[in-house]
Symmetry: C2
Subunit: 189 residues, 2 copies
DNA sequence: ACGGTAGTGGACGCCGGCGTCCGTTTAGCT
DNA sequence: AGCTAAACGGACGCCGGCGTCCACTACCGT
């Protein structure tokens, strides 16, 4: 679908579009989801009208902007699945997902609150969760994972991880790391 | 200090003040900290001016409104300290604090983000944390608590607990309960 | 090079929250 | 009952974000 847009879009327009997405990504990541649309436009070096023409709503913008973060999520989960030791793979996934979410304030809220109509995000989210379920199934069979573990526990942890506030990104990442370690401890058989 | 105000305040004014605080408490709890001041005034049945006269800033209002929640925190910690089994007391404290925070959206953010100038809150917070430190010290000596546990871990958990979002209060409380159980699991030796 | 059209962004009006002023009401004392 | 000062709240102006319109610009095919 992006391809069709790419084809019919003029070169300068495409350029602006890219800069808008880049600006949105960085601003969402550092300042969270409540940055004014104006501000994103300013940083991208375009007028408000251009921004609104490309992305009529903030959700549309967020959905596109977080596409690569979503892919990063998938890569992380796939790496976990590829690990010969499922328990070790699961631990890696937890650590990396927590860090990813800690580095990007906006993505966390986008992922957890999962706005009503961001179906594109939701679909990918479901796919990632399915892979996670498979990974936990394998990890449980190794005996290192608590037998009464359920997938919801992991989701719970990820959501809770999003509640970690801090003044700087570094502090947030550090807190997130400790938190991931505690979570793994809680999941161990 | 409240006494002095009480004395010099006219009866109807005192009445309004009470209703404002009650309205603020319920609205902060259900809708979080970002409710408009207007809305609180409306629910309390007073004009905006009255609200602003009593509480010039939202922080002032929040500080007073959460005073009893803060006391509830103290009671919980004290109960934990009074428990003959420190480890059991600690578990109770974790469960109750998580639930308290889950029931009151506003209080959670007020407690964790701890606005710059809400020194009254901050002072009580520190006192509670000191008691918590004592409790964890005792719990560790029983051997049921992980030897490498630090107080910051508990704070981390409480902050993370604040990240649990849900549509209804009941759902949030349920999630919080599961989360507390996981946390206790992570802290066990 | 040039015309046509896609694309742009400054400017505009709207809305909702904020904090304050002032004419009116009412508690409380005599 | 009557007076006075305290208290009230509706109304006002301000600000910042939102979404849109239109006169101008610049790309691209010929």
């Amino acid at each position: 679908m992006t391809e069709q847009l790419t084809r019919t879009l003029r070169s300068d327009a495409l350029d602006n579009r890219q800069r808008i997405l880049e600006a949105a990504r960085t601003m969402f990541a550092t300042d969270g989801m409540d940055v004014p649309m104006r501000e994103i436009a300013r940083r991208a070096g375009v007028g408000p009208a251009t921004l609104y023409r490309r992305f009529p709503t903030k959700q549309a913008l967020a959905t596109e902007a977080f596409a690569e973060q979503m892919d990063a999520c998938h890569v992380i989960v796939d790496e976990g699945l590829a690990d010969p030791d499922p328990w070790h793979g699961l631990c890696l996934v937890i650590e990396k997902l927590c860090e990813l979410h800690a580095r990007d304030r906006g993505y966390t809220t986008a992922f957890t609150t999962a706005f009503p109509h961001a179906m594109d995000l939701a679909a990918k989210r479901e796919a990632a969760l399915a892979s996670l379920a498979e990974l936990t199934r394998r990890a449980r069979s190794t005996g290192h994972l608590r037998p009464d573990f359920v997938l919801d526990d992991l989701i719970l942890i990820l959501m809770a991880n999003g509640g970690l506030h801090a003044t700087s990104t570094d502090a947030r990442v550090a807190a997130s790391r400790r938190f991931a370690a505690l979570a793994i401890q809680a999941f161990r058989a």
